[in-house]
Symmetry: C2
């Protein structure tokens, strides 16, 4: 419950910064399924800084909508630094936004492999041409992993914009 | 921001039906900003029935991603039966899904006009080539309007699939 309040508060903070700086943002979301976009559009006036967002849950959709390369997906997998970097780049290209955040992870309970545990989430924040990629391994169930991923995305965007 | 218990329960019900019938779904969301997609992907195993979704907040994004015609937007506005019908059609075309739901409304507090009050939300549920368009005027604040729109979308999809 606290997490939810935290998300709307963070989204409103980010919204105020984006409005002030006249920046446009977009999201490219896999495991969060649109949760960051849903949070960002919770704030009144969000049409001044977000005009579209991409939920790319499958490999094919990452290729179709964000131009992630088939080779990258085959070689590194959907939950990888390489993929989230390409997702962010593709989201900016497909939207014209100044800022993108991409998220791809294993929310569970299924989907883990030897190298990639449940809770592993890769992110990229891109501002203009600069990218920051990072990952976390979150604890908790599917909902908790997704909520923590949404919180961290928004926090990191705020941190990098400043 | 929180996904009400009712939403997660409905999303799980719909997920079970989609899994059982081996149907794919997509969403084309304006005022809900990805909330339906976020709800649908809350259920474990959702990658078996949703592979992508479209958040089209601006008129331009509705044209770019969903091929809504500029004429339709100019003539009837983004919050109209004509627009949600084209959004659903475009979402199916851009995803290959069997089912789409499109949502466009005025969540408020701004954005109302003489003919279109805050709380007005238009929806289309499309299954294969068949469409059902409908609207509601919801009460409550921005969050409440969005939440009610998400609930009704999922309920209507369940009703029409059956």
């Amino acid at each position: 419950m606290e997490l939810h309040q935290e998300i709307t508060t963070l989204a409103a903070q980010l919204g105020a910064i984006l409005t002030d700086k006249r920046l446009w943002i977009t999201t490219a979301e896999s495991c969060t399924g649109g949760g960051v976009s849903f949070a960002l559009t919770n704030t009144p006036g969000s049409s001044h800084y977000i005009d579209r967002a991409f939920v790319t849950y499958s490999n094919q959709s990452k290729q179709d909508l964000l131009k992630v390369s088939e080779t990258t997906l085959a070689q590194f997998g959907a939950v990888s630094e390489q993929t989230v970097r390409e997702m962010a780049k593709g989201a900016i290209a497909a939207s014209g936004a100044d800022i993108a955040v991409s998220i791809s992870g294993i929310a569970g309970p299924g989907g883990a492999s030897k190298d990639k545990p449940v809770g592993l989430v890769w992110f990229t924040v891109q501002i203009y041409d600069e990218q920051w990629a990072f990952y976390r391994v979150f604890s908790g169930d599917r909902t908790q992993v997704r909520m923590q991923a949404i919180v961290l995305s928004i926090k990191k965007i705020i941190e990098k914009i400043k």
